[in-house]
Amino acid sequence: MAAITLKNVVKCYYGIGKKTVNKVIHGVNAEIADGEFIVIVGPSGCGKSTLLRMVAGLEEITEGEISIGNRVVNDLEPSERDIAMVFQNYALYPHMSVFDNMAYGLKIAKVPTDEIKTRVDKAAKILELGPYLARKPRELSGGQRQRVAMGRAIVRQPQVFLFDEPLSNLDAKLRAHTRLEIQKLHRDLGITSLFVTHDQVEAMTLAQRMIVMNGGVMEQFGTPEEVYARPASTFVATFIGSPPMNLIKGAPGTKPGVTVGIRPEHLDITPDGWALTVDALEMLGAERLVYGRWRHGEGDELVVIRCDESLPAPQLGSTIHVTPRPDRLHYFDTASGKRI
């Protein structure tokens, strides 16, 4: 087990003859404690996978320093970094049995045969793969393949687990189930883990702390509660939470150049307040989403409100009044998007 430190990590891709430079990671700093479960989340193309692959050693580090357990790993091969990785499409060796898939890394590391057998059997027991050890990957279902990929990571007994969107090929039900399994696994083994995903639900549920990335920049690094309650920028405010936070530019009573943010569940329907024309309704079961247009001084904003299903549904086209809870208002600088 080990802590991970990222110091001003930069990644550039060069065009032919190093004439064009494409900077995809703009100096990321992060201190990850021993045994922590960190989720890196962001939209596609934000550099989250690249960052993970740099930790794994599959991508070169252009600038900066990555250390795992006080050891700078910039120039080490992936196999020397004491890490294990679970890939999105599992990357199982198709011609090897489940047992051989899990044992391959150990065989190369020249671990004695009986030790290999003990470790694989133990991992198979944890992941309930016992009956499938002799099968080939193609004879397994998606969820089982996923577990084999995790088993391959476990048997290596690494310092760090790296997960590259491991749940995105599973159906919704299996994904929720596997999420719980990963949580349990982390509780039992306590190995430092980095988990990349584009899915904010996965990020919120799995993370002890999460890194929100956008355009190669780390926007915020904190616990899910912090990220949700005090988003560092308008990007984080809209990326985390569904439906996203309402952002209102130039609302009455604010200074110019300030954007006000309010989450849909922190708006209450009241006798007076902001006057909204109801545009659309969405019934989600436990709650109802009300989409309304708010025409104020300078603008025309779409505002979303999350109401309990027990409240009566407003008529489409009618006007309702809402009031934000004052302690739940967020203020952002309109130009930079940063929290004020």
Binding site: S79, I108, R152
Partner: protein, 283 residues
């Protein structure tokens, strides 16, 4: 098309049967000719039913004891030469093209694309075009009448390199990365992952290349002058001496029949693998 119309069925069957007859009749004729005595064969019309000298003719051919005027090299020896040559060519081609495709796909080195295209362009140059210079080189190395001379110039293969390159490109990138994380070096990855995955393509290629090696005619004709180094295809040619002398067509035909057996056997034995290798995309 899954249409079931009696007329269409009859038509397709007629075409197929005609095709089979056209191809099979010469083979049948060869077999019939190999079972008669020479004088019987010389009659007109030639007999169309098998004769009684089957064993005699085949033994003559096998041991080189016929009484003809042409070469009398024993077929047993020639079959051995053919077998060794075909095996060296097939296995050599597979080994070399696997390794060169591996280098082209998985290693970054200067002029990688140039190298690939250089190999690819040789596809357009058949052996016959460069046969003069190749002969000179082989002769200067003293490789005439040797297995090396028979096989080395035929081993380099752009087709097979290209085939393996295309196959390697379809192997998912993550597999390479998983192997790197597992600590497998390039050659270990090649041996443990790529080779087993390529097995069906290798089998298909082996069949094609074995037959290619077995059926070589022009090149062995040039580089072998010694009877003991004749492949069987050349042996047949040398048995036909020309001129006015009496030709032992029955023995020639027996030799031809025997020359057909090994490639046919390879195809039949490896048929399953061969088809799998051409159509399978399991990865």
């Amino acid at each position: 098309m899954v249409e079931r119309r009696p007329l269409l069925t009859a038509l397709t069957h007629t075409v197929l049967i005609l095709g089979v007859v056209v191809i099979a009749f010469p083979l049948y004729l060869t077999f019939v000719a190999s079972t008669h005595t020479t004088p019987d064969l010389m009659q007109s019309p030639m007999p169309l039913l098998p004769g009684s000298h089957f064993l005699q003719n085949y033994l003559d051919a096998w041991n080189g004891t016929g009484a003809g005027a042409g070469s009398k090299a024993p077929v047993a020896r020639m079959m051995m030469v053919s077998l060794i040559t075909a095996l060296i060519i097939a296995l050599g081609k597979i080994a070399i093209s696997l390794l060169s495709a591996f280098a082209i796909v998985y290693f970054r080195f200067p002029f990688r694309n140039f190298v690939f295209w250089a190999i690819f362009i040789t596809l357009m140059l058949p052996v016959e075009v460069r046969i003069g210079p190749t002969y000179k080189v082989v002769a200067d190395f003293g490789m005439l009448d040797t297995y090396a001379g028979l096989t080395v110039p035929l081993i380099a293969s752009a087709t097979a390199t290209f085939l393996f390159r295309q196959f390697f490109l379809t192997v998912p990138e993550e597999l390479v990365e998983a192997a790197r994380i597992d600590g497998a070096g390039p050659m270990r990855f090649f041996k443990d992952v790529l080779l087993p995955l390529s097995m069906t393509s290798i089998a298909a290629l082996f069949v094609i290349q074995f037959i290619y090696g077995w059926n070589q005619y022009l090149w062995p004709l040039l580089v072998t002058t010694n009877e003991s180094m004749y492949p069987v295809v050349i042996g047949i040619k040398r048995m036909i001496s020309g001129g006015d002398s009496e030709m032992q067509w029955n023995v020639v035909m027996a030799t031809a029949m025997m020359a057909m057996i090994p490639p046919a056997t390879i195809v039949i034995l490896m048929q399953k693998w061969f088809v799998k290798g051409l159509v399978d995309t399991e990865k």
